[in-house]
Symmetry: C2
C-alpha cells in the first residue's frame, strides 16, 4: 500500500465485487477503510473460491487492508449503529460506500439527515434500483454472441472475468475521489450513484460499438481475431500458442522483420493494391492473406528462438498460459514488487498484491491482509462512537455487535 490518502476515513457496507474493490483500492492508497458486515458474514462471506478450511479466498482477496466491524443489521439497533458509523464526525471522514438498496435504511435521505456533507457512493444494479449483476449486464449487451469461434453458431459465450463489476469498482473509487474534491471546494456532500447497467451501456458506446451497431447492425463473431487490427493466436513449431498483435507501425515493421516476410507482404500489398505499413485496419481487411502467411512462419520457429527476436524488435506478443503457470511465474508474482507473501484470515500464507499502481518516488508499505471478521469492532466503536468498554460489552452481550471468538 501507499500513503496518498493517509488520514482519510471511510466506511463501507457492501458485498460481492464492485463496491468492495472500490473500497479496497482506496485502502491500498492509504485511506482508513472500515468494512461493516453482518455478524457471521454478509452474502459474499463464503463465496468461492475457498481455502482448505472453508474460508473464502474471494472475500479475503477483496477486503485487504480494511478494518472489520460486525453488526446485526437484521435489527433496528444494529442498523442504527451503521448509520452512526457512516456519518461519524470528522473533516476527513463522512465518506461512505455501499451497494445497499437505494431506498432502504441507507437511503441518502436517512444518511444526509445526520451528516449533510456526506459523500455517499452507491453501487447499484439498474439505475431504477432493480437488480442486475455482471452476468445479466453482459448478456443484455450482446457481447456473448460476439465471443468465441464461429462454429458455435448462435450459442452465447459468457465472459469468465466479471469485467463490468471490476470497471464499476474502479470507477466508483474515482467518482468517490471526485466527489471528495468537490466537497473540499464547496463544503457540499452528495450521493454518487453508479449503476452497473449504466457502466455497461456507456462503455459499449465509449468504444464506438453502439454507433457501429446502429449503423451496420451486429458485429459478427471473429473468434480470437482482434477486430480492426492485426492480432490473433498462433502456434509455434514446438506447439506453444502465442497471442501476436501489431497495432502500431513499429510493431508491424518488427513483425515483418522477425518473420522474414517482407517479400511476401510486399507481394500481397501489390496484388491487393494496399499498404500495411501505417494502417492496422488494412491488416485486418486482408487478414485472409496475412494470417496464413504468419501462421506458416510462426509454425517454422520454436518459441525459444522466436521470443527474443520479437522482444528485440519491440513486437507485442504474449504466451497463452494456464492460470497456475501465471501464478507461479516469478516475473508476474514471486518477484513482482506488487506482491508479498502474507498470512491471510484463512490461516494460509500466499502472495497478495498491494496497490495496482506503482509510485517510483514512494516506498511500498507492506501488503495488509483482509481482517478477521469483526476484529476491529471494539476499536472502531470506541474510536468513532465514543463508546466505553462497558457499553461495548453490553452490545456484544446483546449480540448487536460481533467480534472474533
Amino acid at each position: 500500500m501507499y500513503e496518498l490518502l493517509r488520514g482519510m476515513h471511510m466506511v463501507e457496507a457492501s458485498s460481492f465485487v464492485a463496491c468492495p474493490t472500490a473500497a479496497m483500492y482506496l485502502a491500498q492508497m492509504g485511506a482508513d477503510v472500515i468494512r461493516v458486515d453482518q455478524i457471521g458474514g454478509g452474502p459474499d462471506f463464503h463465496r468461492w473460491p475457498k481455502a482448505r478450511n472453508g474460508q473464502s479466498y474471494y472475500w479475503e482477496g477483496l477486503n485487504k487492508g480494511k478494518r472489520s466491524v460486525a453488526l446485526d443489521l437484521s435489527r433496528a439497533e444494529g442498523r442504527e449503529l451503521l448509520l452512526e458509523l457512516a456519518t461519524a464526525p470528522g473533516e476527513r471522514a463522512g465518506i461512505f460506500l455501499t451497494n445497499f438498496p437505494v431506498n432502504g435504511f441507507l437511503s441518502w435521505e436517512r444518511l444526509s439527515a445526520r451528516r449533510p456533507d456526506l459523500v455517499l457512493t452507491r453501487v447499484m444494479g439498474q439505475a431504477d434500483g432493480g437488480p442486475a449483476l455482471d452476468y445479466t449486464v453482459a448478456s443484455a449487451l450482446g457481447i456473448p454472441f460476439m465471443t468465441g469461434p464461429e462454429s458455435l453458431g448462435d450459442a452465447p459465450v459468457n465472459a469468465v472475468l466479471p469485467a463490468w463489476d471490476l470497471l464499476t469498482g474502479a470507477y466508483a473509487a474515482f467518482a468517490t475521489m471526485a466527489a471528495l474534491h468537490h466537497r473540499r471546494e464547496t463544503g457540499q456532500g452528495q450521493e454518487v450513484r453508479i449503476p452497473l447497467a449504466d457502466v455497461g451501456i456507456a462503455t459499449v458506446a465509449n468504444l464506438g460499438m453502439l454507433a457501429e451497431a446502429l449503423r451496420s447492425g451486429d458485429r459478427k463473431r471473429y473468434g480470437n481475431e482482434v477486430f480492426g487490427a492485426f492480432g490473433r493466436d498462433f502456434v509455434t513449431a514446438d506447439g506453444q500458442r502465442i497471442m501476436l498483435m501489431a497495432i502500431t507501425p513499429k510493431q508491424w515493421r518488427g513483425l515483418v522483420r522477425v518473420l522474414d516476410m517482407a517479400a511476401d507482404v510486399a507481394g500481397i500489398e501489390t496484388s491487393r493494391g494496399t499498404s500495411f505499413a501505417q494502417d492496422e485496419a488494412e491488416r485486418f481487411l486482408h487478414r485472409d492473406a496475412l494470417y496464413p502467411l504468419v501462421e506458416a512462419r510462426v509454425a517454422q520457429r520454436r518459441l525459444a528462438e522466436l521470443a527474443p527476436a520479437l522482444d528485440a524488435e519491440g513486437c507485442c506478443w504474449g504466451p497463452y498460459r494456464r492460470m497456475e503457470e501465471a501464478a507461479r511465474d516469478p516475473a508476474l508474482v514471486g518477484g513482482n514488487p506488487l506482491f508479498e507473501a502474507i498470512r491471510h484470515p484463512s490461516g494460509e500464507t500466499y502472495p497478495a498484491p498491494g496497490a495496482m499502481a506503482t509510485l517510483p518516488a514512494a516506498s511500498r508499505i507492506g501488503v495488509r491482509p483482509a481482517p478477521v471478521l469483526g476484529a476491529h469492532s471494539e476499536e472502531v466503536l470506541t474510536e468513532l462512537l465514543g463508546l466505553g468498554s462497558g457499553q461495548f460489552s453490553a452490545l456484544v452481550d446483546r449480540k448487536l455487535v460481533g467480534r472474533p471468538a
Copy 2:
C-alpha cells in the same frame, strides 16, 4: 457531464483505450482536458469501428469532452511544445496523463525538471517498459482456457471486451485523483505508473483466483455456468434465452417461488443432505440436479409471462440480446438520462453518454462530443503558453502545429 472537477486543468498525450478513457472520465466530471495528438492523428485515430466517412467511432467515443491540440511530435520542437503544455503553470494544472514510453522524451526526469510538483499518470504495458496490450495480458493469465464450452477442448477463447484496458483506465483516473489529493496535502507531485500487466495479475489475485490456482491448479471450463453460484443461461418456451442468477437468499427464494419448484427443491435437498436456502455454493455443487429442473421449468413458460413474475420477486435475470437490440432499447439508451443524441466529428448524429455516475443532486450538463483534431490548438497555445497570434501562425506555417483545414 458534471462539474465536480471544474477548474482543474489536465493534459493527455496517449492513444488506444486505457489512458484515453481515464482522461475522458476526468473530463466528464468537469476537468478541462487537453488531448495532444500527432498532426493527422496518432496510432488510434483511424481505429475501427468507423463512420460512413471513414472517421473513427472509436476515437470519437473515447475523446468526448476534451479539447484537441495537434503537434508534430516527430520533431524536437513539437515535442518541446508538448513538454511546455504538460508542465504549464497553475495551481490547478500540472496534471499529465500519458502512455508514452517511460524513458522517452516524456520521462519523469524531463517533465519534473520543468515542474517538480507535476502529477504524472503513466499507463504502461509491462512494468519494465516492455509492450503489452489487453489481449496479451489476458492470454498470459489463463482466462481464455476457462472461457467457452467444454467442447472447445484446449482451444482458448479470447474476450471481446478489452476488460484490462477498461479497468486500467478507470483505475488510472482514480490514481490521478489520489495523487492530486496528496499533492494538495503536501505540495509534492510524482509519477504514478499503472502497467496493464500488473492490473491483470493483481486483479486475478484480488478475486481469489491466484490463491485458488496455487492451491488446486487450473479451474476447468464451466461454459456459461457461473463458478460457485447459481447462474446460467436458460431458454423459455418461446425460445428466448435468458441469464438467470441467484446469489443471495432472497433471489433464490424468489426463483423457487416463480418456478413453483419448492417441492422438487426440497426433494433434492433431502436426498443430497443439503440446503440451498442460504449458501449459493451448495447450489453450484448440486447443479447437476438443479439446472435440469430449472431448465424444464423455464422451458414451460413464455418470456412475457416469466419476466414480470421474476421482477416481482426481485430475482436477478436478464435477456440475452444482440448489441443492435441493446442500442435501440429506450430503457438503455434512448430514454436513459446518461445519453444524448449529439453531432460528432464524423458529422453523424447518434446517442452518446456522459459520466457513468449519476449525481441526483446535480444537473447533467449536456454531453460534449469529441473535438475535431486540432480544433483547440490556437486557443490552448495562446492560453497556456502565452503565444501571440503571429507566433501561433508561424508554428502552423512551419507545420509544427496543426489545426482544422
